[in-house]
């Protein structure tokens, strides 16, 4: 019992942050599955979603802002794809990667300009932020909501990919880009849908994440983005269940390491994990050659 009382706060924190990483990681892994592109701007889009919420909530009721945040982030994701990635579709893959880095810095600096470099405080969503007590450990409601919501969204996503027409098209495109184009699949549409899903999940992730850690800086997206990317690689980039499992593993391990008193090494652990997995099993946990890459 004492054991549980000691470790429960860390486990809860780990599961919660893991769920938030998972929502970001799915965006990375899906875009990679389809385009073979690591979308470096993804973490910054997550940050922008947070900022949009901050500014929306000052003038609009909360529930309207939440909906608008989801919509604006999706629009932003599609715009980035349309403006920065689509014109480079036939260019070497390195160019599109560099374009992604450019977008990432552009978003960060735009946020710097808009916020004036000061930390913005995330609006309080009472329902998510109210304190609850689980077996003696006091925490926020969002800690419990996150893993549940994450799993529900992932199940819905897997259903979408396995059972719908657009899902089938996505699977086809991830297998062979050119052949599926020849078979009459509208590649641009499939890619647009991928970005819509990725951005939507990043927006949901940002609401959950910033409700828990309420300060937003222009660089707030880079660390969660980086860790989600490691999670995606760990789980096998291109695989959705892999990204989710990877994110939970990273979230929980990091917090347990902090609980052991090795706080200095919690970030180092994440990146050592990345190196080890790339050396031992470069395809990641679930990244088998023949798995559906979406």
């Amino acid at each position: 019992m004492e054991f549980i009382a000691k470790w429960l706060p860390y486990i809860l924190a780990g599961i919660s942050v893991g769920g938030q990483f998972a929502l970001i990681a799915i965006g990375y892994t899906m875009v990679y599955g389809i385009l073979r592109l690591i979308n470096f701007a993804h973490g910054d889009m997550f940050m922008i979603a947070g900022l949009v919420m901050v500014y929306m909530a000052t003038v609009l009721p909360l529930w309207v802002s939440v909906i608008l945040v989801l919509i604006i982030t999706v629009v932003l994701g599609c715009t980035i794809e349309r403006v920065a990635y689509r014109p480079l579709r036939s260019a070497p893959r390195m160019s599109i990667m560099i374009s992604a880095i450019g977008v990432s810095y552009f978003l960060q600096n735009m946020a710097l300009y808009i916020t004036g470099g000061l930390t913005r405080t995330y609006p309080t969503i009472d329902w998510l932020q109210k304190n609850i007590t689980i077996m003696g450990a006091s925490t926020k409601m969002v800690t419990i909501i996150t893993p549940v919501l994450t799993i529900v969204l992932v199940i819905a996503l897997v259903f979408l990919i396995k059972r719908t027409k657009i899902g089938m098209a996505m699977r086809a495109v991830s297998r062979d880009f050119d052949t599926s184009a020849l078979m009459g699949i509208d590649i641009n549409r499939v890619i647009a849908v991928t970005f819509i899903i990725g951005s939507f999940l990043a927006a949901v992730g940002s609401i959950l994440y910033f409700s828990n850690y309420t300060g937003i800086m222009p660089t707030s997206g880079s660390m969660p983005g980086l860790k989600a990317f490691v999670a995606a690689v760990f789980g096998g980039i291109g695989s959705i269940p892999g990204a989710v499992v990877g994110a939970f593993v990273i979230g929980i391990c990091e917090n347990i390491i902090k609980g052991l008193g090795l706080t200095t090494f919690s970030d180092a652990f994440t990146f050592v994990l990345l190196i080890v997995i790339l050396m031992v099993k470069p395809t990641g946990l679930f990244g088998e050659k023949n798995i559906d890459k979406v």
């Binding site: 470099g117 850690y213 917090n255």
Partner: protein, 392 residues
């Protein structure tokens, strides 16, 4: 077509640079010349909020006294403000910019780490610098051009340790940021003093860009500590306070001068936490200054925004105000705008400021023996004066 647009854009850029360049030079007909004071402060990054507040004090002082008399001739004082982005590497570039723009003296920076990093640049160029609120001893140690008008961390750490001990704490949880000279330094001095008193400590550090403080708060609780000492940047502090409230920390949180900011009172308002800080100035210490600067901030929405949206005074603002006048005194004494003359004049400069008297002693540090202890009233979101603490 594209070429034309590119040409047009290029022309617009060239002209806008030209226009900005010409803007400053026209006025000042009555002045014998201009003297430039460099403001080396963060306006973004971890310490952006504090840096802006410190700059505000300097700007207000410049607004009140925009001229200085040197050898009977009136000179216009111009502020040369750069953003060091709270980053050691970028701070060096910003410092070099100041040096090359021909400033007579530099004020700043908020945040000791970046001051230490930029100290070498100023030293090499022989440009005198006056630290406003950078409390780490290494800022001035071994650097002949760096002075400072605030107290030092060994003093502040001891004051805080004494305060904790006198209030019944026996085991302290100390949190600092990895690689941040300010918080690591202050925690060190606190730990030394607290152990000397007979207390126990648990020390932990968090990495750069960390936003998840859940486990640190949990560690403090599970280790059975009875005071939480975290003299970290206000950005991290707001997150820590939030997390402490969420997990029902149940012990007072203690910090140094950095936390004396409306970012902290904003974060703590309406939450069940106890926040205590030591600082340089207590609002109300000089009503004339308080009212003047508040009216000035209210008149300009940009300034109000820089202060975090309200007129709550931070001690760093008052310190910035004093620093400007110390610089003016030094320039007057020097009787010249030349960096070498100003540098020679600073050690003998004295000034009676709103935060008390400034007299430079050993290493170019001001002689200070009092810190103000304040507590956050979480209902009203304002600081309440607790005590003026000195050590012998």
């Amino acid at each position: 077509m594209k070429k034309k647009i590119a040409l047009l854009l290029a022309l617009v850029m060239i002209f806008s640079v030209f226009a900005v360049g010409c803007g400053g030079g026209d006025e000042g007909g009555d002045y014998a010349g201009t003297v430039k004071i460099g403001v080396f402060e963060p306006a973004s990054g971890d310490n952006g909020a504090g840096g802006k507040q410190e700059t505000l004090g300097i700007q207000y002082a410049n607004y009140m006294t925009p001229e200085v008399e040197i050898n009977g001739e009136l000179y216009k004082v111009e502020l040369e403000i750069v953003d060091n982005e709270s980053d050691n590497a970028k701070g060096i570039t910003a410092a070099s910019n100041l040096v090359s723009s021909g400033v007579s003296v530099v004020l700043g920076s908020y945040g000791s780490a970046v001051s230490i990093a930029a100290g070498e640049v100023f030293k090499e160029a022989g440009v005198p610098a006056i630290g406003v609120t950078c409390t780490n001893p290494q800022v001035t140690a071994g650097n002949d051009v760096y002075f400072r008008i605030c107290f030092l961390d060994p003093f502040q750490g001891t004051v805080l340790a004494n305060y904790a001990w006198e209030n019944g704490a026996t085991k302290a949880y100390c949190l600092s940021k990895l690689g941040d000279d300010y918080s690591v330094g202050l925690v060190n001095y606190f730990v030394q003093a607290f152990k000397a008193l007979g207390g126990e400590v648990v020390e932990e550090q968090f990495p750069n860009q960390n936003a998840d403080f859940t486990s640190y708060v949990a560690n403090a609780k599970s280790n059975g500590c009875d005071v939480f000492f975290a003299p970290v940047s206000t950005e991290a502090a707001a997150l820590i306070i939030d997390q402490a409230a969420a997990q029902d920390l149940g012990m007072p949180m203690l910090a140094g001068d950095t936390w004396d900011s409306n970012v902290i009172t904003g974060a703590a308002q309406g939450k069940d936490v106890e926040v205590v800080v030591t600082t340089f100035y207590q609002e109300g210490g000089n009503p004339e200054f308080d009212n003047g600067i508040k009216a000035w901030m209210e008149a300009d929405s940009k300034m109000l925004e820089n202060n975090g949206g309200n007129t709550d005074l931070a001690a760093v603002t008052a310190m910035g105000y004093d620093a400007y006048y110390v610089a003016l005194e030094a320039i007057k004494t020097a009787g010249s705008t030349d960096v070498a003359d100003v540098l020679a004049a600073i050690p003998d400069t004295t000034y009676e400021g709103v935060c008390g008297q400034v007299v430079f002693g050993e290493n170019g540090d001001a002689v200070r023996d009092t810190a103000y202890v304040k507590k956050c009233n979480t209902e009203t979101g304002a600081w309440e004066f607790v005590a003026a603490q000195s050590i012998k």
